[in-house]
Amino acid sequence: MESKLALIPLLPLAGFAINGLVGKRLGKPLAALVALLGPAIAFVLSLEILVYLLQAGDATIQVRLWTWMATRDFSVEFAFAADRLTAVMLLVVTGVGSLIHLYSAEYMEGERRGSYARYFSYLNLFTAMMLVLVLGASLPLVFIGWEGVGLCSYLLIGYWYTNAEYASAGRKAFVVNRVGDFGFLLGMFVLLLAQAPAEGARSLELAHLNALAQVGGIEVGTLTTAAVLLFLGACGKSAQIPLHVWLPDAMAGPTPVSALIHAATMVTAGVYLVARLSGLFGAAPAALAVVAVVGVLTAFCAAVMAMTERDLKKVLAYSTISQLGYMFVGVATGVFAAGIFHLVTHAFFKALLFLGAGAVMHAMHTMDMRRLGGLRTKMPWTFWLFLIGAAALAGLPPTSGFFSKDEILAAALLGYHAGAGPLWLGVWVLGVLTALLTAFYIFRAVALTFLGEPLEPTDAHLHAHDPGWRMLVPLVVLGALAAAGGLLNVPHALGGHARFTEFLEPVLARQGGGVPLGHVAWLEWAGMGLTTLGGLLSAAAALLLYTRAPELLARLAAAALVRPWRAASEAKFWFDTAYQRYVVEPTRAGALALWEWVDVAVIDNAVGGLAQAARDLGRSLRSLQDGLLSRYTTYLAGGAVVVLMLVLGFI
């Protein structure tokens, strides 16, 4: 098993190397095949690991490769570890990853040979890095994957780099993520500092950190600081407020990339990190409260932003931000399995939605919903599959999204009921509101894209058709998973066995930090009933308003109650404007001013002026030349001292 574990990230890495070096010469079919093989074989290996872990219970498969860096203060091993939580992530990454590789083979057909190979080499590198992130046994190892996926995201967002705007979007993603990574780095440092050297070498191994936090080996204040800093990293990668601004722009990348990286896998890394450190976060309740608040605010605000968006992919991007917020709420309730379950079902239905949007893009060459509409009859497969995804996103029963979203909301409600504080009631209320908004905006998108008639018809409508089998197969598989994936975890309140939660139970019990909530059937039923009913009404309202009742829609939009929200939604709560005005521009202007006024004007002129003065002085003192070497040296040295003193004094 150990060698297989090491092989899992190595396979896509090999694909990256092959396609990166000779992909252009391979030709398109072979390049795609090479790229597909890596994740596909890794998927099979992950299945083997899953089967092994199903039997072995709470086992951890570990493989130590070499010492990465060791000093007398601490050491970091290059080591991988896999338990049941890892296995879930491995299957999502390699499974959804393989499907999207297959889909890409057709979607990217129109690219030149070199670009085609470049695309697949990046996609493989991404898969490898994501697997390192998931498998890393210590925070620094996770960080390799963490920044590695960020790099691939950067490269793929800017894949069509001749478009300056796309290239900028990639850079924005990288830099904003770096802000988060700054937190990640400091979080690691705090954890190092918090470990007394007397207790043996300091370590950043995940298992060690969980254990240490659970036995109270780190003081709570310090632990909270570390957890919040690590969460800042998670906010960057998982696009949470205030670091969410890069994700909508990231839609500049090819659509399969949006599906894989910016929906199903990379952006969930932050949620995985919190779950992976459940013991650490669990021992810092204040940090978990921060996670919950940021999560639910993000969920709500991003849903508001999605309400007025005209670009289909961006609707999905805001919805991803919003759903990631849910996942954070899930892990923050202490029911870590709930967050992870939503991560899994979201990977299914959001990848489905993105790939569906990709099919539309492939046919229509635009994502502007004003130019879409009426595609239901032209692209029936795409329509019905997209509809399944939309229902799952809206959390309508019996799709997977219903089960996973409901579990998160139930956890918040049960937490409040169990006396965890009014915070959780607030979280629940906002969570339910978000669910209603979600149902509205996604069915608005369905209506604008597939129903009615386009506002601005184009020629593409005449030729629009469903995609070929390489794109359709992944769509169908994901459609099935999105529809039925909820069966993995039917809650006890509905007479199920909550198998997924049960499967993760031993991991979270070992790591610690979980909160036992018990079950209050009537409360769960009430919650479920409310969101289901609300979701259905909300979805129906959207369909009606956007297909049959434009006047009513216009009147609603102009209502006094709605107007400020619409303005906020259209301006995306002014985040980008504010960053541009208060961070980016002042930095640039400050840098320029510093350069002109300090570097060139003050320091340079001071030195230049002094050198000139010294030269003049030297000329006038020429009479002092007497040929004594020692005296010259003294003059020179004295002069130098004076010059430097003056320079220092000037500054």
């Binding site: 860096m69 000093t71 920044e147 300056a164 850079r171 040295a637 430097l644």
Partner: protein, 498 residues
């Protein structure tokens, strides 16, 4: 094998090479270049085994020691030797020797003989600085280095080469003089009969109470050495010679300056200033760390404001060397290892960045960032090498820049959390200015139609890009052998002040 005066042989080899280059008939440019390349390659191959011969676990600090009395009246000796830190810097220097020659192959087309002779002389004198165990010998090599470097900038440089050369010369000279005064003072004050660095250090540490250095003396003497070294590093605000020198120097000169010469300053701090005057270092460490952090941020902001490709990279050096200084003055073992590792990593990454500018400048004769844009499609090989280099420089984990920064910041954080936290801001800014540079030069639509015909990297260029990138990656995922080599040589430093 161990009795072989291998260090002297290295120096003589380079000097002989420089002589041979001068003896070549002037029209035979190929012979000149060939001789220079052979010499520098031989020097690299001779020095390479030292890495494996050096056993980091043995007790005595210096290996490959040679000792010949020179001016016995003052106890000055021709004394060479290597410890873990200087060994790695020697290898970095000899590695970049042949790289510099290859990078100058077409770029230097006048006074080639003199250029390559200067270049080999420069390499030899830099090696001397890292090898010297005698303070006077160290000083001599330090001063000798100035001459070929000045010539390389002022003769073969860009438009403002003379200004840049003179500025470089004046700054360094001013520092050297301070060092000289401090050096003489130490000698007279302690009544030492030796200039051996190790012996002087022991002597200073064990002065009888009635003759011990006062605190003021210690601080001033420390300043004397430290300012000389700080100018070389350069530490803010002594850095303004650097953008001019780097920008105006020819490619090989910039590479040597950035990769190796700046390290002489950091090396001097580690080898001389701090061990000699630990009390002075202790007193000024807070100031030094503040300047280091200011340098990190300030250099990065300056890099953001530049329109000249080479000048931008020069300022990025100010920022990156800030990490080195921070690590040195934080004086935990981790931070020190990180600082030395960062010297090597920066040497490779910034060396590569200058080589890349050199490659493109040879083709277009412009350093203005605005003149580029959209050339990634025309020169994909160049774009790939540039991408990896930019990532290494920005500290992407898995490449070597990360290891240095991580160890410096982690080690610093253990004693000075605030300084480390401020320094870590540089990591964000590095991504900003490096990716902006990359985007403006490589991405977007093609700016100049004439760039459509740009030639991608030639085999000569690949011959040095590939090994340098390989080393960058190896040091990134398997840095431990390097940390092991330097480790033992750094143990003593944190214990100096107790």
């Amino acid at each position: 094998m161990h009795d072989l005066p291998i260090l002297t042989m290295l120096l003589l080899l380079l000097l002989a090479g420089a002589g041979a280059v001068m003896l070549c008939p002037r029209p035979r440019g190929d012979l000149v270049r060939g001789t220079a390349l052979t010499t520098s390659l031989l020097a690299f191959l001779c020095s390479l085994p030292l890495f494996w011969l050096y056993d980091g676990t043995r007790a005595e600090p210096f290996r490959f020691v040679e000792h010949v009395p020179w001016i016995e009246r003052f106890g000055i000796a021709y004394s060479l030797g290597l410890d873990g830190v200087s060994l790695l810097l020697v290898l970095l220097t000899t590695l970049l020797g042949p790289v510099g020659v290859l990078a100058s192959w077409n770029a230097i087309d006048r006074r080639t003989k003199e250029f390559y002779a200067s270049f080999l002389l420069l390499e030899a004198s830099v090696l001397g600085v890292f090898m010297a165990r005698d303070l006077v010998l160290f000083y001599v090599f330090w001063e000798v280095m100035l001459v070929p470097m000045f010539l390389i900038i002022a003769v073969w440089g860009g438009e403002k080469r003379v200004y840049a050369g003179v500025k470089f010369f004046i700054y360094t000279m001013a520092g050297s003089l301070l060092m000289l005064v401090a050096l003489v003072y130490v000698y007279l004050r302690t009544g030492a009969q030796t200039f051996q660095i190790a012996e002087l250090q022991a002597l200073l540490a064990a002065l009888p109470p009635e003759r011990a250095l006062s605190h003021t003396e210690e601080v001033l003497l420390f300043l004397g050495f430290a300012i000389a070294f700080a100018i070389k590093v350069p530490v803010f605000p002594f850095h303004t010679w650097l953008p001019d020198a780097h920008t105006e120097a020819p490619t090989a000169g910039s590479v040597m300056l950035a990769a190796v010469l700046l390290k002489m300053g950091a090396y001097g701090l580690l080898r001389i200033a701090i061990p000699f005057f630990p009390g002075g270092a202790e007193a000024l460490a807070p100031l030094a760390m503040v300047l280091a952090v200011v340098g990190i941020i300030y250099g990065a902001l300056m890099a953001l404001a530049q329109e000249d490709w080479k000048r931008l990279i020069a300022y990025s050096s100010v920022s990156h060397l800030g990490f080195v200084v921070l690590g040195i003055f934080a004086r935990t073992e981790t931070a020190l290892s990180g600082a030395v590792f960062q010297m090597l990593a920066h040497g490779l990454a910034t060396g590569l960045l200058f080589l890349l500018v050199g490659s493109i400048y040879e083709r277009t004769h412009s350093r203005r960032i605005d003149d580029y844009g959209g050339i990634a499609r025309v020169v994909p090989g160049f774009a790939a090498v540039f991408m990896i280099t930019v990532l290494a420089s920005a500290g992407l984990p898995g490449l070597n820049g990360f290891v240095g920064e991580f160890l410096v910041l982690a080690g610093t954080f253990l004693r000075h959390p605030l300084a480390a936290a401020c320094g870590a801001l540089g990591v964000i800014l590095a991504a900003a200015y490096l990716l902006t540079l990359y985007q403006r030069t490589m991405f977007g639509p093609l700016v100049h139609e004439r760039h459509r015909a740009l030639a991608d990297l030639a085999p000569r260029e690949w011959s040095y890009y590939v090994p340098l990138l390989g080393l960058t990656a190896i040091m990134g995922i398997w840095p431990q052998p390097f940390l092991d080599v330097m480790g033992a040589s750094l143990h003593a430093i944190p214990q100096l002040v107790k």
